[in-house]
């Protein structure tokens, strides 16, 4: 083969560069499309719902009149359900991930467990709802309560947290683990002083992604029977309730509730178009809740990662 002339080399480079630019253009287009969709969605809800963004909207219970209806019980319900979900799913998920990465022997049982976890992540959320209806609501007698909803969503996001935990742990170099074991630490000491703290940024990201998924879930919550019209809040711990009694520390977990997505769903299915405005406004608030959770996750991860390097 004869060596290429300068012109030929330039022609080859020009061809290559053309393809570079072509791909760049396609990439920018795809990105812009994705971005545009979300911006359009948010803007649409914001404009449609703009007349409802008053303090009353956040402080009013549901009502038959659209202009007086608010999301108080919904956002309080969502926050409380998330609290239960996090309290149940985070310790379970982190412990399970830690066990699988640091303690479990590699054998067929662990393999089955691993395949199972992957499959769990793919189970449709309504199926979790059915399971929870049978187990939490009836079998355990938790009823249609915040507790039932929180535990259901905890099951739903457990695989996400387990996988995130395992990945964060796997990113820790073996030499850190060996360095700890070499001074005579036990597995538990190594986990407590090193593995868990160093994996924390990754775990946290997984937790928030999971919670962001859970806060928007509707199907399993409807299945277990959350109310769509609710005009009271769960009892505040140690506050006075009807009949002069005092609410217990955890009475609120057994309270009926509603959550944001259900409130939105309820409003969109009303014949009166005025409720569409409420739905759009509530949708925007839900979106804001999810985005601010993500923002907190990013900030915390950035802060924690600053001090972890090897």
């Amino acid at each position: 083969m004869k060596p290429l002339t300068t012109e030929q080399i330039r022609a080859v480079i020009a061809k290559g560069k053309f393809r570079d630019n072509l791909f760049k253009a396609v990439g920018v287009f795809c990105l812009a499309f994705a971005l545009l969709v979300i911006v359009a969605l948010i803007a649409d809800m914001l404009i449609k719902g703009s007349e409802r963004f008053t303090l009353d909207f956040f402080l009013n219970f549901a009502s038959r009149r659209a202009t007086q209806a608010g999301i108080l019980s919904a956002w309080v319900g969502s926050l409380l359900v998330m609290l239960v979900t996090a309290l149940a799913a985070v310790p379970l998920g982190v412990a399970a991930g830690l066990y699988l990465e640091e303690y479990a022997k590699r054998n067929w049982i662990t393999n089955i467990i691993e395949i199972n976890i992957t499959n769990l992540a793919a189970v449709p959320s309504i199926v979790y709802g059915l399971l929870a209806l049978g187990i939490f609501v009836y079998q355990f007698g938790f009823g249609q309560s915040i507790l039932s909803a929180g535990l259901t969503l905890a099951l739903l996001i457990l695989p996400i947290i387990i996988v995130a935990t395992r990945e964060a742990i796997r990113a820790i170099p073996a030499m850190i683990r060996e360095g700890s074991m070499a001074v005579g630490a036990t597995r538990w000491q190594t986990c407590r002083y090193h593995i868990v703290p160093y994996a924390m940024p990754g775990i946290l990201t997984g937790v928030i992604i999971g919670l962001a998924r859970a806060i928007g879930e509707t199907a399993p919550i409807i299945t277990i029977g959350a109310l769509t019209f609710i005009a009271f809040l769960p009892p505040v711990p140690f506050s006075e309730i009807d009949g002069g009694a005092t609410a217990g520390m955890f009475d609120w977990v057994m309270s009926p509730f509603t959550v944001m997505p259900i409130q939105i769903f309820n409003w969109t299915s009303r014949p009166d178009p005025a409720f569409e405005v409420n739905a759009a406004a509530a949708g925007f608030v839900l979106m804001a809740m999810v985005l601010s959770m993500n923002a907190v996750a990013i900030y915390l991860r950035y802060k924690m990662r600053k001090n972890i390097k090897w």
Partner: protein
């Protein structure tokens, strides 16, 4: 080698075999480790010197499928370090290790050194302060870090990190200190500092050091063992090994004809 000034034994490998699952990595190793001396392990890559070193503190127990045969006797109590009845954690509490690449924890300088003590349940501030200072002095890094003990350890230079890792190992007063090519990731000046330190440390502790650098073995060690393909080819005083090796294979390696 029956010499009248043979020092006391600190450890002795007896017919040691080691397997990574099916693959045999160490073959019938017999070798003494003398008390308060520096013993160097040399040999080409893959000869099993690191595998051998990591048998002493049972590092292989961390991974599944590894198997030992034979014994490593540890003195004065004549424990078999490899016995299934001996807890690897107890072994690691008595035998310290410094790794090939400096591996400080992403914590403060102080916490890195104090870690071994904390693991042993020591939480008294005074005791920790004293022992951390003593260990850092022992590792010849005290003067460089004494004013910034609360700084993050990974911000130190590579050579300082490695001396910090030595301090971490020293803090718990090990009887035997294992060095796995401790200078392979360091520049010549940092390497010199570590070698000097090894020389200083042998007054207090027995040292076993793996190195792929023959000059280093000649400079720092009292005894040298040449390993090849998982076997111990020759063991002797460093002078003898380097000046007048008995085995042809040792000579080939040392003179650079092989490896």
């Amino acid at each position: 080698m029956q010499i009248h000034d043979t020092p006391a034994l600190k450890a002795e490998a007896r017919n040691l075999n080691f397997y990574y699952s099916e693959k045999q990595a160490l073959k019938g190793i017999n070798m003494p480790i003398y008390d308060k001396k520096v013993t160097a392990l040399i040999g080409p890559s893959g000869c099993g010197k690191s595998t051998y070193l990591r048998s002493f503190n049972r590092m292989h127990d961390l991974y599944p499928g590894n198997r030992y045969e034979g014994e490593i006797r540890f003195f004065p109590d004549n424990t078999n370090l490899l016995s299934p009845d001996v807890d690897p954690i107890e072994v690691r509490m008595r035998i310290g290790m410094v790794f090939q690449k400096p591996n400080p924890f992403p914590k403060t300088i102080f916490e890195n050194v104090a870690y071994g003590l904390r693991v042993r349940g020591e939480n008294n501030k005074r005791t920790l302060d004293d022992k951390v200072e003593h260990a850092l002095k022992g590792a010849a890094i005290w003067d460089e870090v004494k004013d910034r003990l609360q700084d993050m350890a990974p911000n130190l230079s590579g050579g300082q990190q490695q001396r910090l890792c030595i301090a971490r190992a020293l803090a718990t007063d090990p009887e035997l200190l294992l060095f796995d090519e401790p200078t392979s990731a360091l520049d010549p000046i940092a390497t010199g500092a570590i070698e000097e330190l090894v020389h200083e440390l042998k007054k207090r502790v027995t040292i076993l050091i793996v190195t792929h650098n023959m000059q280093q073995a000649a400079r720092v060690s009292d005894y040298t063992a040449y390993m090849y393909l998982g076997e111990m080819i020759e063991f002797g005083k460093t002078d003898q090994i380097f000046i007048k090796p008995n085995d042809k294979r040792t000579e080939d390696y040392i003179t650079g004809r092989m490896g």
